[in-house]
Amino acid sequence: MLPPAPALDAATTPSGFLLVLSIAIPIAGVLLAFVLGDRYVRLVAFAMVPLELAITVTIVAAVPHSTGPLVYLLGAWPPPLGVALRVDGLAAVMLAATAVVISAVAVYAGAEFSVTTTKARAPFVFWILLLAVWAALNAIFVGGDLFTLYVALELLTFAAVPLVSLDGRPETLRAAIRYLLFALLGSVLYLLGTALLYGLHATLDIVLLSHRIGAEPASLVAAALMTSGLLAKTALFPLHLWLPPAHAGAPAAGSAILSGLVVKGSFFIIVRLWFQVMPGLPGFAATQLLAALGAAAIVFGSVLALRQERLKLLIAYSTLAQIGYLFLMFPLAFNGSGHLESGGALAGGLLQAASHATAKAAMFMAAGSIYAGLGHDRITGLGGIARVLPLSVLAFAFAGIALIGVQPSGASLAKDLLLQAATERQQWWWAVVLQAGGVFTAAYVLLVLAHALAPPDKPVVLTGPAPRLGDVAALVLALCSLLLGLVPWEPYLPVPYISPPDLSGLGTLSKSLLPVLGGVVLAILLSPRPHPFASSVRWKVAIGMLNRFRRGCCAFSSYVERGNGVLCEWPAASTCLLMLALLFSVLMLVAA
């Protein structure tokens, strides 16, 4: 278990300066690369990435040896006048996940974004923004003050949006402007809440605020505004109108960053807000609402993923579903005394965030290699690809298996932790959602793999060389996610004792097989296109029986698609945003 945060940590700890460097080094990289210009940007990025990686490793190694969080007082001014940076176990986990993903993406993108005389624009923008995203995320994980977190969020948004429209096609420009506008709406709501909190308590320092905040109506409204603003930036259903076009339109390396990391930034601030600033205030109903949105996101995202024609869009909708998964921890952390407890459920949620970051980035990278190899990414046209691009398909498969939650992946440990919390809190309905989430994930992963492993209609011709190094980076990332369950998490996350993964037992086998079998059924039922299972003779009898049922399911999924079309219009999405802000206010006021 983590020690509780000390009442007033108004002193810099010995290795606190590393926290400053974790932000300052990538910023220095951004400035340097901008001045040196087109020819040297990649060089600067390649110099900064190992340096920053080393700093992150040192921070993560220092956290278990410190009695409390690592602290640094900027300008030696203690809060509330000054700003403190703090790293606790949660921040350390996110810092590490970010460092791993960005380093892998840098390796992957090394060839694609090399500078040539004809195209200098995209590499210049990409490498600078890669460093900027890193600085912004580190500032979010490390920042101990709600306004510093706002600035970091802005940094993150402005670093992320241009990644979407890097290739300059009109539809990606449209996706980028959509993303920018909706993210700014979220920023406004967050800033509004921050201003209210300062007006009430004269501090925005997270630790100080947690002591001063009470159930005043203004504090609760502020929290509701901030939460809904952050949800808009995280793209939790029904505020997801910007996510699929943005994440599918960016170049693969950009998508990996956007889907794997950027949405986790605003998610992490929600965690800080609910678990650390005001653990006693949200109340039962608000946590249930948050998780209900998460559950809806899982259903919508997964059903829509199964209906996509293009691989990148499928992965983008899968992100939508996985974001929903992250919010299931909130009611499960809600204990008998009305507090959000930093226990197993929180650990499960954070683990899920880390394993999704690695797995999703790997998936997008593999999809990028496939796109580069084939010249398209139509799922039905993937036949035979496993033979010509084995590494890419293997990386995709490992990442998919990790996401499904097969042991010993991080997602499987996260699921165990959340299931255990659901049993303890006697909220069986979230256990159902958790299991269903695994089955849905298996469905769309298996759909892609079935197409990729099927024999080709005609010989596959590669349009470009297979990016070996990039595929290795994707594979390493996928393996990271697959092995996250074996990492000793106790120094960082409040992991209660659970039995070590038993890789041979019958129970484990059935636990892994059930989602897979369920996934096959779902993939057949919900995907509207002919799929490779149908061509196999052995399946024919079963398919025949299922056909009538399947028609009903397809009708259901087309309704979901139509509903999603409405929700992804501006009027519906912005109405939802305001309604959520009001709804959270009402729920918290009633609970208080």
Partner: protein, 314 residues
């Protein structure tokens, strides 16, 4: 009722009416004009609230540069006639209005619930002014107590520039932003562009300089310098620079760059990152502010100029 109260009530009523009018009016151009007037009046409100620093910024950004940007966008939209399609239905608009009014009512209620007198850090900020030798507490907060936020904000500005530039076609990468403006050399615009900049530049520098002890500072001064530069560009007296030019790049990072260097020097030789030794605090902060003013002026000017459009070859 004193005369000040009457003025305040009139001001509030006009601002509210302008706000509603800006939203309701169908023509983009009129809405933009309404928005600019709204920004200037909100600046007046800030003056009434004794927040002169905020008033200056609001007038410069909300009324000035933001207005120029919106006018440009309105002109482009009129050309493309993009506003004609898809006007939401009456029911939808009524629903949106009701929801917005409800949200505003909740916010107003919450603001009324805020404690009075408000808990504040202002006395602490004033009491610690010894550390920098500057007597404007706003500058002290921006440059010393919360220097990290200010530095990161400047990096946000740089990222905004990169974002705008990233929209350039590959062929024009490194070239000059925006079209080459032509104006009648004997017209009003050219006359103003010759008349105003000398005065404006002096005012901009004065606002930067006075910011250490009185309201003002790098951002406000930089915004005024930027508007003078833009005036000269629009009158055709100057051209936008090549974005690949080393000196342009250098000016754009000068502010955050110097800030970061001073911060790291504090980490290595001083008490902490972004701490200033009391003896050197004032010159260091002024140095950073001068660099930041240049950076802000160049950034705001280039943000309004847009993405590179003309390739490096003339």
């Amino acid at each position: 009722m004193s005369i000040e109260t009457v003025i305040e009530i009139v001001l509030a009523a006009v601002v509210l009416t302008l706000g509603v009018w800006t939203i309701v009016v169908p023509e983009t151009f009129s809405a933009t004009v309404g928005f600019v007037a709204y920004g200037l009046l909100v600046a007046l409100i800030w003056v009434r609230l004794d927040a002169a620093d905020v008033a200056l910024t609001e007038a410069a950004i909300g009324g000035g540069l933001g207005g120029v940007l919106l006018l440009g966008a309105a002109a482009r939209l009129r050309d493309a006639d993009m506003m004609a399609d898809a006007r939401p239905g009456k029911l939808l608009r009524a629903g949106a209005a009701a929801l917005s009014v409800l949200t505003a009512a909740v916010l107003a209620g919450v603001v009324l619930l805020l404690p009075d007198p408000a808990p504040t850090l202002a006395p602490a900020a004033v009491a610690n002014a010894w550390a920098t030798g500057l007597s404007n507490p706003v500058t002290n907060v921006l440059m010393a107590f919360r220097a990290m936020d200010t530095m990161l904000e400047k990096v946000v500005l740089l990222l905004a520039i990169i974002g705008v530039w990233s929209l350039a076609p590959d062929s024009a990468w490194g070239g000059r932003p925006g079209p080459r403006h032509q104006a009648d050399p004997r017209g009003v615009l050219a006359f103003l562009a010759r008349l105003l900049p000398p005065v404006g530049i002096v005012i901009g520098i004065y606002i930067l300089w006075t910011g250490s002890d009185h309201p003002g500072g790098a951002f406000q001064g930089g915004a005024i310098l930027a508007s003078m530069w833009l005036l000269a560009i629009m009158a055709g007296l100057a051209d936008t620079p090549l974005v690949s030019h080393r000196s342009v790049r250098f000016i754009l990072v000068a502010g955050p760059g110097l800030f970061l260097l001073v911060g790291l020097a504090g980490l290595l030789f001083g008490a902490a990152f972004l701490s200033y030794p009391p003896a050197l605090a004032k010159p260091l902060i002024l140095g950073i502010e001068i660099a930041m003013t240049l950076t802000i002026a160049a950034t705001l000017g280039l943000l309004l100029a847009g993405a590179p459009e003309r390739s490096t070859e003339p």
